[in-house]
Symmetry: none
Subunit: 228 residues, 4 copies
């Protein structure tokens, strides 16, 4: 994080300016001239550091995404259970986006829209992050914490899609409301849907009284408990 060479610093300044301006005006409406001015360098200098305007766009998320995924990965080993991990990852996503709204904007509006981004190393990092989430879900299934018939891709899509939707909505429509406050409900809701037997807090009380077998009126999670 501490930049050494002055070249590196210059590079950083350009990236920062680009982030700000791309986020503000959109990729197409931002101009190199504007970015270079904001970075205190000449247009030509931008091209010393980045091959094209699109290249500059693609480079932006690299650092921030990497840092973010590194942090999440760093915490994973300390967590027990798929649920905790899942909750932590989601928290990580949201925190990253909350702390870097311009980055969030960039990722969601400028980059996920761009086919070329997919061929980019930066995208690889994004994909990796998504992979961590997927693994976590899969782990939960393998561990038996999550229902066997859980579709991990769907669950991931739900998590990422919801986050993206909420951020995009807020960014474009200025919908108020904290995201942080919605992380737990979101995760709870999903866990309820995929938790093996005692889905998020759903508890069924089964009583055996005097040899009578009291069946639950309905529900599917119960049976699982019975089996155990």
């Amino acid at each position: 994080m501490a930049r050494s060479s002055p070249k590196e610093q210059r590079r950083e300044r350009i990236i920062e300016s680009a982030l700000k301006i791309f986020a503000e005006k959109g990729f197409q409406d931002a101009t190199i001239s504007e970015i270079s001015k904001a970075a205190g360098v000449s247009d030509a200098t931008v091209y010393e550091y980045f091959k094209t305007k699109e290249d500059l766009l693609f480079v932006i998320p690299e650092e921030i995404t990497e840092r973010s995924i590194r942090e999440i990965r760093g915490v994973m080993p300390f967590l027990r259970g798929a649920e905790s991990k899942l909750r932590t990852i989601v928290q990580g996503y949201v925190t990253t986006y909350e702390n870097n709204p311009e980055y969030a904007n960039l990722i969601m509006l400028q980059l996920k829209t761009n086919r070329n981004f997919l061929k980019t190393p930066a995208f690889e990092v994004v994909r990796e992050a998504a992979q961590v989430l997927l693994s976590c879900i899969q782990e939960g299934i393998d561990e038996g914490a999550f229902r066997k018939d859980t579709d991990p891709y769907l669950v991931r899509a739900m998590i990422l899609g919801t986050i993206e939707h909420l951020f995009t909505r807020r960014h474009l429509q200025g919908t108020p409301g904290s995201f942080m406050d919605r992380v737990d409900p979101l995760v709870d809701l999903i866990l309820d849907g995929i938790r093996a037997r005692k889905k998020s807090g759903d508890v069924s009380l089964h009583l055996h009284i005097a040899g009578q077998d009291i069946l639950p009126v309905e529900d599917t999670g119960i049976t699982e408990e019975k089996k155990t």
Copy 2:
């Protein structure tokens, strides 16, 4: 669908061409000249029908969205229960997108990114559709079908976000797999999370004692204490 007047037909042809080309190349990279050529008219003619390039973009979703919402609204009265309605609406969204992949692309990549779109009548229709979904959720809560503490906005965000995420992913990355097959799992998962009796942390106590049918008690987390 087939408008009689040749003027209307021309208009339709332009819109269709625009949809195709905007979806294919993106708004910025598409040119009026390309669109007009595809529609078999001159550049100037496009401007006879639409004030600006952006206007043309904004007009596209109007018809499809309207038709789609009209259909969904038409079926609503025949459905009983929030769950059925919810499922139907989601089905409606996905069907619309599946049948009009270019339209889906346009909405998700070109329009939801565009701030000006928000001021558009076409956006009003989109918002209306979202409103129907929200109402349905709210209805479920009011009816007691869904948990009282359900956040309808979050649920809606989950539904729409997931759909958007899946479509965007497929469009950009070519992820295979049918969406239709994921509609039910998606809805199930969400319903599991919001259905009244199995809410997270809520406990439904089902007692069958001596053949008596004991109805579930609205609870307050007691069971959890029990658990501990």
Copy 3:
């Protein structure tokens, strides 16, 4: 002036609208569509009556100029002396411009700038008017009312140029002040300069005293007097 046929009326309406709009926005910035709208006809109808946009421009001054010149010519016979005639003609110009400011604007800013106008019948009328003025000056010279060495073209240029300058200035810069009030001073000043003997008062007194030849210190008009 009373229009007979409805076609003639339509034509007039178009011309009036054109005058107004050309004067307001200038020839280049005015559009046929604007004019036709103001005239309550379609674009195509304008072309039924006038071959091109420029044609329409050129036709406008015809009527008004003709009427104006007719009036001046009508009064001429009743006037005695070049001075009265001159004064009347100038008055005529200024009155016409004052009563038809849009016409004045058109003539001075749109038409006198346009080379093609010179080939126009309407221009012939304008030229005729200028001819009347010139003749009047020439008449004054021939009659002996004006100095023999008067350059009638220069005098005319002075009169027309001054009027044009004043109108243009007022139109563009909004300089206030009545033109009417300046007609007399203008004519007086010019008459002073061209009046025959008492040329604008420049008189040299040549004295021959006792055979001495007394040369004028300066001046050129003197010799002429001698000659006479």
Copy 4:
């Protein structure tokens, strides 16, 4: 005149080309592409130097006008008497226009027609030149050289209007004849009209008696009485 920096030279070349082409075709019918070609640069380069086409138009007169006014102002101190000054200024105007016929055309046909030009720094210079002329006339009045009831604005309008009229006529109609030859008659005619003593009815008495040089007497109309 020859600016050293190659940038300045390029700028000059563009201005010169613009002057030529604007004068030849008029502002509206001239194209940037034509101008850039004539200047040996690309279209885009023109926009490096000038913000818009109109800007380019407005910049043209700056240099010439400034130089011209500077010269006139430079000579003023060496001249005695309002008449000499007036004559010199008029001469200056005409000389400038004669030496730069394209510039003359531009000023009279393209710029004086353009409302935006009035807000331009270049127009300020033009106005300044007109101001010098006005001051000179006023000075003459104050000194007693010109009649007290002279309207300086009218006189200026006469001078400028006449010059403009003559040039415009020549430019559009190709009227032959030298302007230079008309400067003196024009000034004479006007001076005749405003000179204090020889105003219509004023007489200057020049006496040479016996080799003595008798200076003209500031008069009051006496001579006329004598004459009569």
